[in-house]
Amino acid sequence: MKVIRNDWQLYLLILPAVVYVFIFHYIPMYGVQIAFKDFSTRLGIWNSPWVGFKHFIRFVTYPNFKKIIWNTLSITLYNLMTYPIPIILALLINELNNQRFRKVVQMVSYAPHFVSTVVVCSMLILFTDNNNGLFNHIIRALGGTGSDWLSKPSLFPSLYVWSSVWQSAGWSTIIFLAALAGVSPELYEAAYMDGASRLQIILHVNIPALAPTIITMFIMRVGQIMSLGFEKIYLLQNSLNLDASQVISTYVYEMGVRNGQFSYASAIDLFNTVINILLLLVVNKISQRSAGVGIW
């Protein structure tokens, strides 16, 4: 009976987190209704008049709608294509026999993960500068002609994606290396006995061992396909590359925070969130049906 007597203490321990999440996550969810209203600060969220899908229609019929969606999708899909890179790196790191060298490779490749977004973007801006940038100096030294990379819309997705690869590829190998460490040594021994080459072992032992992790991580990535991070795009954006760098999140920021069009910006955000959730559900279903692996 003693055990039950002070059970309230358990709930008291979790209360601060419950309250915090309620205030900072659930109250904004309640606020989402302004996407269907003409919000005015004077009337407040509840009393502002309903307008149905007006703001959604405005967004869909906005002349740049297609461009914004295309920019968002092309960058995220491009980014998704680099998904195998950490997997390949993990497979290669796993093959290193010299433990000390392996440690060095891991330590160096994890380091960029700790560099802030602001610094990564500054480095990109400094390095790609036409006159003084490192990259253009190297290209000129090799006999090429330099240019101002960040002012070219066509280069923008590549700069975004490959700087992200630089920053995260090493770090992302951790989860795959952990899965590889879990492969039972007997499997390797059996494969050696059968005279399998190292490449064959990678193909037939290591990759199947990674499959569940690969699929789960892939589903998570697909679920974020429309939610292109704001932070980096915003920092790399300039008036010359706007044609390729105006994406949903930066447009929401511009409309909502800068122009104060709260309802319109909320509608765009909601539109985005709903598509993300639908994508996540669909991909999760497909993978559960075909591979028996899902995130729930």
Partner: protein
Amino acid sequence: MFDFCNVFIMLVLIIIMAYPLYFIVIASLSDPYKVINGKVYLWPADFTLDSYINVFRESSIWKGYYNTIRYTFWGTLFNLALTIPAAYILSKKKLAGRKFLSFYFLIPMYFSGGLVPTYLLVNNIGLMNKPYTLIFLGGISIYNLIVTRIFFQTSIPEELYESASMDGASHFRVFFQIAMPLAKPIIAVMALYYAVAHWNSYFNALIYISNDAYQPLQIVLRNILINNQMLLVGMDTSALSADEALAAARRQYMAQGMKYALIFVSSAPLLVAYPFVQKHFVKGVMIGSLKG
């Protein structure tokens, strides 16, 4: 043959990963004029500490540094106070209402109100543009909560708590005197995760802070590095004679050199500390990959 190729690929990888960071260091130690003209590739050219001296003269950088340390320290403490007890409770399989609570914390991971409703909320509760705004925002990361919960579930046997309860210990005592000491490894991991997030974040400051006195280092960096806010101010550049024009050009170079030094000064604390605590970071990812 395989090993040879593999080691070669790994060496290329190391160079790609490390060279940009290495270049920042050598560029910051070189005469800016040489850097701008592409004379610096492998070693510092005309070694000088001028760029660092100039960086340390900027009061906004000191201010930003101070603010970031403050936000990181108190913010991380706040994060831990919310995350650790909640994760401990969620790990209790016999808790009445556990399913509901898990669900309650999981939903915000997939569905959020979005930027504008959050902005309106922060505004309504009077948290806009306050010295403590950045301590309270981002108070709990659901992902970190889940990782911590998995740690409690997989590393500490529940019987341990139960036997303590049998002996008459209250739930508070069990948590503070048994669970917390055993959870030291995960507390270390979470402290590091949250601290790095605070140190590197700029988004919340961009949206919710407009007062210069409260800006964190990352915003100061952005203003100088990306928005090219004038450095070495206090020098009048109007009506220049030939000599003065030369001096102005020189200042331009110095400002350029300062950027490299500034990048180093702002990133160094993390990059220098990280090899020593690397194993904690890796542990966090590993725990997160276990199915809870």
